[in-house]
Amino acid sequence: MNSGDPPSVLVIGIGNPDRGDDGVGPAVVGRLRNRVPTGVSVLERGGDALALLDNWEGFSTVILVDAVAPISEPGRVHRLDLAQNPLPLNFAPCSTHAFGLAETVELARSLRKLPSSLGAYLVEGEQFETGAQLSPAIGKAVDEVAERILAEIAALLEARRDHA
């Protein structure tokens, strides 16, 4: 990207739609696909989190959506600033295979490959059964997260216009 280009925005929904509430990320992306302003990209990702390093290359603002294990109540939405802070331990996924989201974000920080703005919406899931649908509480959170992301993007674009 040339320095004269407007900084670009990418929303990445992480998860597996066939594993119950793990599908919240892709569900939010599905809700945003036809509603985001021009110049904003959306992407679904499953599997190897290391691929995120390539996915967000060239984007100055990246917003992640992912499911997390239950902490307090199913469907509760946490908004974290990963460009400033590491993923807290109680959100860190436990994966014995390959690299998870927390490791990938920290690896990117070590390599200075983090987008200048990296937000994450993390939704507490209830069940992650194979073949299951989203739980009702998580279904509601999909709407909430989609609306918050649209508002965040609108505010960002307005701030940029004012700045320009």
């Binding site: 691929a51 014995t96 295979h97 490791e103």
Partner: protein, 429 residues
């Protein structure tokens, strides 16, 4: 200090869940137990009663790192049972597919999992602050391997395009061209990684391993060959179960494999290289000489060099296969079901992977036998830890623990495959 116990409750930077317990009595290690507590997954039983055409999709799910190995051992064993011979371009595409897996699996292990041990970092994230270039090379290599897998397998993880008799869809030459460009860069990145790793401090340590690998008359082994050992074994794959047995051990959910007459043995890059170095191209052997890699490497800490040399080779071989590729007239040979038993062994990144299937007349799986490399290496890993620990008992517990964990990672164990992970406990009493 005479008696002590070191326990690692959860061994990091290996695939899967396991622990290690070391008992030191009167200044000698008297027990080492690598305990795999990942639950068994019963894939062999799960295959029973399924159609032969479902095997590749089921076995691809055994491992997220080496699904192609499972698919290739599976496809060759079923084709052996059904008497299918595939066309030469299909054979070449399968070898190309395997190159992709070697590149991505090895690169991840070499830099992200193993290198931090030598350079004194807790993990790749901390190492990346000082060795960013090396980490970026590994990520690029892994990406190129994944690209090859995606092109031939339909997707990177648990691919879906391989089938009995060939592939559902084969790539065009034009589709392979961009991967060839990436592989040319990857080859250089692999050579840089080899020279980087050659500068690591390697502990002085040698073991007299019994190496077991495939041996093919013309090729460095991947998809096929006879099973040979450094002790003179030379058998057809179908005779595997007459020479090798799996035993249950109380401390692990994984079975331990041994040679009936010769006990514990080693599979994987060190074994492949020791038994097949003559099949490596001259320039790859010259690279081995340049970095001081001996023709038979018996220091497991130096396995990282062998693994990296294999990445260079896999890039080379993939480039050769792409250059020679002509799409086949048909993407697959249609299989006709009939009763039979089929056997196959292929060289997964971590070593030989044996499959046997017994098919009913309509092609239903009556029984299946899958022996992954890590269950074959478990005995050797325990022996390595015992000897490494005995040679390093003057170290404090935390340093001893680190050395033991490193010696486990020397063999890139994939516990998920074998449980059929790692905690280390050292008991000094």
């Amino acid at each position: 200090m005479a008696n002590r116990t070191i326990r690692v409750d959860y061994i990091a930077r290996v695939e899967g869940e396991s622990s290690l317990e070391l008992h030191v009595r009167n200044g000698t290690v008297d027990a080492v137990q690598l305990s795999i507590f990942e639950p068994p997954r019963f894939f062999e039983a799960l295959l029973r009663g399924r159609g032969f055409g479902e095997v590749l999709d089921i076995v691809a799910r055994i491992c997220g790192i080496c699904p192609i190995a499972y698919q290739m051992s599976g496809v060759h064993a079923i084709e052996d049972a059904l008497g299918i011979t595939v066309d030469a371009p299909i054979r070449a595409l399968r070898r190309l597919f395997y190159c992709g897996e070697w590149i991505q699996s090895h690169s991840l292990h070499i830099v992200m999992l193993h290198a931090p041990d030598f350079l004194g970092y807790p993990d790749a994230i901390a190492m990346a602050r000082d060795h960013g270039e090396a980490v970026e090379r590994a990520l690029a290599l892994k990406k190129t391997g994944n690209e090859l897998i995606r092109l031939l397998g339909g997707r990177e993880i648990h691919p879906i395009n391989a089938r009995i008799g060939g592939f559902y869809r084969v790539p065009s030459r034009a589709e392979l061209a961009p991967v060839a460009e990436a592989l040319k860069h990857a080859r250089g990145q692999a050579i840089d990684t080899l020279r980087w790793a050659a500068g690591f401090p390697f502990p002085e340590f040698m073991r007299d391993y019994k190496f077991v690998a495939l041996r093919h008359p013309d090729e460095y082994p991947m998809n096929e060959g006879r099973i040979v050992s450094s002790a003179g074994l030379d058998i057809a794959v179908a005779d595997y179960e007459t020479e090798f047995i799996e035993r249950q051990v109380p401390h692990s959910t994984a079975l331990h494999s041994v040679m009936k007459r010769q006990g514990a043995y080693l599979v994987g890059p060190m074994a492949r290289y020791a038994l097949n170095r003559d099949h490596l191209p001259v320039d790859i052997r010259a690279l081995a000489d340049e970095v001081g890699l001996e023709p038979v490497c018996r220091n497991p800490f130096r396995s990282i060099l062998v693994r990296t040399l294999e990445v260079v080779y896999a890039c080379d071989e993939a480039l050769r296969l792409i250059a020679a590729y002509e799409p086949p007239a048909r993407p697959f040979v249609s299989p006709e079901p009939h009763a039979g038993v089929g056997y196959a062994c292929s060289e997964a990144p971590r070593g030989i992977l044996y499959h046997r299937y017994n098919l009913d007349r309509d092609g239903t799986i009556l029984d299946a036998r899958l022996v992954p490399p890590t269950s074959q290496n478990q005995g050797v890993i325990e022996e390595d830890v015992r000897e490494v620990a005995n040679a390093a008992l003057d170290l404090a517990d935390d340093a001893l623990q680190a050395r033991c964990e490193q010696s486990i990672r020397n063999h890139d164990p994939c516990i998920s495959c074998a449980a059929h992970f790692l905690k280390l406990q050292v008991h000094r009493t």
